[in-house]
Symmetry: C2
Subunit: 330 residues, 2 copies
């Protein structure tokens, strides 16, 4: 399988490391021999149609021997690859540069796997229509839930069910903050500072604590699983900045906990702090993510795991890659 | 897709009801038109190669117009079907009658879907080898976890991971008993009687409370996911009969709960009551089942849902059926 990799930052490098470490496993267990024929980052591109030496690339902070310039679009179009992996950073306003990368790949007849929320939030219908028109596969397991294969679980194993509702704890940072407030009885500002020092929260945590990141994921899940045409602006969104340790303590005394929960059902998309019973599968601690599907046959299926981290997210990207290999035989 | 259905008890009828109710959904969403050409129970068989009227069959307590006699094996062999659904009751000593049904189906070149733990516990390797030799598909999602698609999740979406360990709360009855003891502070015998009155526990609850049912499921998971050749006797098994409400209360004070947990890793298969942190995804209440996979990339992925019930279990059987339809195009 010939792969063009777009994005060689934290995730692109993490995934490359996984490919190197697991090459024996992938060949032995799945008959999959991934060959990365091009790597592009924002500064340049390296190409070797016989397959790049990822181990050597990973030792350098810049792509060694790279042609300089913004070469993503021409590399996607010109280098013969079965699959384009789009792993650039997310921009939820424009979807760029991922959106242009994905369109270029599809127009060149290449299958696409992405971890990038931006293009999916901005142009879900456009991209899925384009993939259909071009007869290419389009997978984005890693865009929601990190390592937690929410979308493909719903589409494959739960395919016999009508999905009535999706509820999700989809942001590890806010879940960490709420968990710490519950454990320590410490106020929001204090646990936020602690999380920022630990690198669990970003310097500007607005997208996380304001619920916007969760709203993006709910938008993607609604489109991908419920089949609606939802936009980010359709999500009613309340963050966690007004939650204090007292509220969490009171909830606990009633056998509940407070989680930032995104909800998607036909006619309602929302993100807000909600009470969750302590023994419900959504009541996961720390940075975990969890999703509960309400279903006509299975009633409730919940899945939980780590929603971030380059190695963890590689699990979902690799799951998509193996699935394409099985489906297409390339 | 032509289907022979073996077993027309609680589950066989529940699944038939699901097929009737969801025929539009299956055609519209998945292009799947299931046609049940034979139904066999322990008393007889009905066959119609054009497709039986399931709705009519469901109205009767006995199969109307059935040929009498033990006709399962000849029906499996003689009636032209793509898939045999084996949904007879479990016998974990002999695997019968399911074991003979499954072998007959494979030898006749038919794909097999089963919910039956017995044949898998008794003859996992033999059946998977026979399926391979005969070039047929063999699916058994519903045999472990009811509605919770434990096996296929590990094989498909988590396929890029090495599974280091599987931990499971796999028996709804024991989980219900432990949950009730925790809530009520009531002793084991009392919550057991209550559960028996509600139909959550069987009159003879030995297989559940002794941990044997969980041990069967751990055996299947070890074979299916870890690829070992495990037998039921390899599982070290301790049940929950010695757990009292005091132990659960003490655990709770330490932020933990007690669950009957099955564990499978290379070199260790066990079932025993274990402490689980209250905010861990295995700490699910009531009759829920939950499984946690320890993985090299994703670290931990957990999935939870209802482990029993004919409608819930139909979700897994239908998931297998849709997967065969996609894979084989029949």
């Amino acid at each position: 399988m010939r792969i063009t990799l777009i994005g060689f930052g934290n995730l692109g490098r993490g995934f490359s490391r996984t490919l190197v470490q697991k090459s024996d496993f992938l060949r032995r267990k799945h008959g999959l021999v991934p060959r990365v024929v091009a790597v592009v980052d924002e500064f340049g591109a390296v190409v070797d149609e016989k397959g790049l030496n990822l181990q050597a690339l990973l030792k350098k902070t810049e792509l060694p021997g790279a042609k300089k310039g913004k070469l993503a679009l021409s590399t996607i179009a010109d280098v013969d690859a079965d699959v384009v992996l789009e792993l650039t950073p997310t921009n939820i306003e424009t979807g760029e540069p991922g959106l242009s990368h994905i369109k270029a790949a599809m127009k060149a007849g290449r299958h696409v796997i992405t971890s990038n929320k931006g293009p999916l939030v901005v142009a879900f219908q456009e991209l899925t229509s384009l993939a259909k028109k071009q007869g290419v596969e389009f997978r984005y397991s890693a865009s929601v839930g990190g390592a937690v294969p929410v979308i493909e679980l719903a589409r494959k194993q739960l395919a016999g069910n009508e999905v009535m509702e999706i509820q999700g704890v989809l942001n590890g940072t806010t879940n960490y903050l709420l968990t710490r407030m519950g454990e320590e009885g410490a106020p929001f500002d204090m646990v936020l500072r602690e999380a920022q020092e630990l690198g669990v929260a970003e310097k500007d945590p607005t997208l996380d604590i304001g619920g916007i990141d969760t709203a993006c994921k709910i938008t993607i899940l609604a489109n991908a699983i419920l089949g609606v045409n939802a936009k980010l602006k359709d999500v009613r969104c309340v963050g966690i900045t007004r939650i204090g340790p007292d509220a969490i303590r009171l909830a606990k005394e009633a056998g509940q906990t407070i989680k930032l929960v995104g909800v998607a059902r036909r006619g309602l998309l929302s993100v807000a702090p909600r009470l969750v019973p302590l023994d419900h599968p959504l009541a996961v601690g720390g940075t975990l993510n969890a999703v509960t599907f309400k279903l006509d046959l299975a009633r409730e299926i919940s899945i939980a795991g780590f929603g971030a981290g380059p190695k963890e997210t590689s699990s979902s990207i690799l799951g998509d890659l193996i699935d394409l290999h099985r489906t297409l035989g390339c």
